[in-house]
């Protein structure tokens, strides 16, 4: 093959984003008549976490879909995507992701440093599951030890009244069973695929955090590709990520049904409860405003309006 793409990801190939990656690979390999070849390394088999990011920046990997929290390690303003209730609806996120000017402004620093975001692969919201009680109002979080996803999310859980605990993903199952942690917020299908729904008794479906994967490439490599190959890749990313939105939503819905069928008490936040959660965590927005200025945040808010 003329072009070889080393493509490491952290998650298993059989969960929703992994399926999207594989569709993408089939598309570009067939459309390029085999001129582009992808070496896909799922499940952290090549690199994990920040290593993936550094590999893409250096060119030791050409491409990666890595959860956005890691990118805030080189560009703190990317953490605005993680602000509590930044995307109250799926459509709010789609509007942001489809606004090319906004995305390139948000990821400008990443681009300056050597990586380019050519698409966004959605995951879904992170419902909060725990073993103790149904979480409806912020007061219910009091005293709960919850595993968080990065520092912005940790701050959100803290403001809601919980105690964020740092714990390795491989130890989560044991920690839940033994009460080292009382729960965690994680995508709905993760509760199923890691069997956490067997220990977690209560899950609250809340839109406080929308997880997604910036589809990133090494910039120098990308600009070196010939026009035709670049077009094939860009089109395939656009197609696959658009098609994937429905699947991700459906997967999350199915996961909630599976959990409910297993006896997990699933609760969806009411309007009043959601407002209480928003109020409890509002200070994170003013903290972000102090750090990153108002321009990006105003833009972000503009995607939230309900038609």
């Amino acid at each position: 093959a003329e072009v070889k793409i080393r493509f490491p990801v952290e998650y298993n190939p059989d969960i929703a984003p992994g399926l999207a990656n594989q569709e993408f690979i089939e598309l570009i390999e067939s459309r390029s008549n085999g001129e582009i070849e992808v070496e896909f390394y799922p499940a952290g088999s090549l690199y994990k976490g920040l290593d993936i990011l550094q590999a893409v920046m250096r060119g030791d990997a050409e491409m990666a879909t890595l959860v956005s929290v890691y990118w805030s390690a080189i560009s703190p303003q990317i953490s605005i995507f993680e602000l509590p209730f930044a995307f109250p609806t799926h459509e709010a996120f789609y509007r942001a992701a489809d606004d090319a000017a906004f995305m390139s402004q948000a990821f400008a620093e990443v681009e300056d440093k050597g990586a380019l975001v050519i698409g966004t692969l959605v995951y879904d919201y992170l419902p909060v599951g725990n073993t103790e009680r149904q979480l409806t109002m912020p007061a219910d979080f009091s005293g709960l030890k919850l595993r968080a996803l990065g520092r912005t999310n940790a701050r959100t859980l803290e403001l809601l009244g919980a105690e964020p605990v740092p714990i390795n993903v491989t130890e989560v199952s044991g920690a839940l069973e033994r009460g080292v942690i009382d729960g965690l917020n994680t995508p709905a299908d993760a509760f199923i695929s890691y069997s956490w729904d067997e220990t977690v008794k209560y899950v609250t479906d809340s839109p406080h955090y929308f997880a997604f994967y910036p589809w990133a490439v090494n910039k120098a490599w990308w600009e070196d590709l010939d026009e035709e190959h670049r077009a094939i890749i860009a089109e395939a990313v656009a197609e696959v990520t658009a098609r994937h939105r429905e699947r991700a939503k459906a997967e999350a819905g199915a996961a909630f049904e599976k959990m409910a069928a297993k006896g997990v008490k699933v609760h969806r936040l009411t309007q009043e409860q959601r407002e209480a959660w928003v109020a409890a965590t509002a200070v994170q927005w003013s903290e972000a405003e102090e750090r990153f200025g108002t321009e990006l945040l105003d833009k972000l808010r503009s995607f939230q309006q309900v038609e």
């Binding site: 976490g49 390690a73 080189i74 990065g150 520092r151 605990v165």
Partner: protein, 166 residues
């Protein structure tokens, strides 16, 4: 002068031992904080991980000095002392070459992380990651020095056993 020399002889030992103590103290504090005072230190997991990395490379340098790295000696033990010395010196040179490569590219690694402005993704530690990654060039420089020292001893003394069990 001799005192300085002696202190330098054991500097890696002391550093790695002290770092082990710090790592233990951090983890212990986190447990105590969480179970007694219901306070969790979100930085503790990360800092204790870095402590482990630092103690490892100072420990590696110390273990070169006392020649206590795990190795297979049954083949070279059968050789006459002259031949063995040659092979030990050759092995030492190989290790040294490896370490110098890693030390040099460790400098590059630190430079890259600096230019990326890489910070922790897990916690609010205000220290950039390149500071922690400094252990790669620093540690490998220490190991290289110890290897050089060993090489000189082998050259002068001629008996590989003099370096054993320090």
């Amino acid at each position: 002068m001799a005192a300085v020399r002696r202190a330098l002889d054991h500097v890696e030992d002391a550093l790695s031992g002290a770092l082990l103590f710090c790592g233990l103290a951090i983890v212990f504090l986190e447990i105590a904080g969480r179970s007694l005072f219901s306070a969790s230190f979100i930085w503790s997991e990360e800092v204790s991980r870095y402590t482990l990395i630092w103690l490892t490379y100072f420990g590696v340098a110390a273990a070169v000095r006392s020649d206590s790295h795990i190795k297979v000696t049954i083949f070279i033990d059968r050789l006459p002392s002259r031949g063995r010395r040659g092979i030990e010196m050759f092995g030492c040179l190989i290790c040294l070459a490896f370490c110098l490569f890693v030390a040099w590219y460790g400098v590059r690694l630190v430079g890259d992380s600096r230019s990326f402005g890489l910070m922790s993704a897990d916690s609010d530690i205000p220290i950039p990651i390149w500071v922690f990654q400094m252990i790669v060039p620093l540690g490998y420089a220490c190991i290289s020095l110890r290897l050089l020292e060993r090489l000189l001893h082998l050259w002068r003394a001629g008996d590989p056993d003099v370096m054993r069990g320090g």
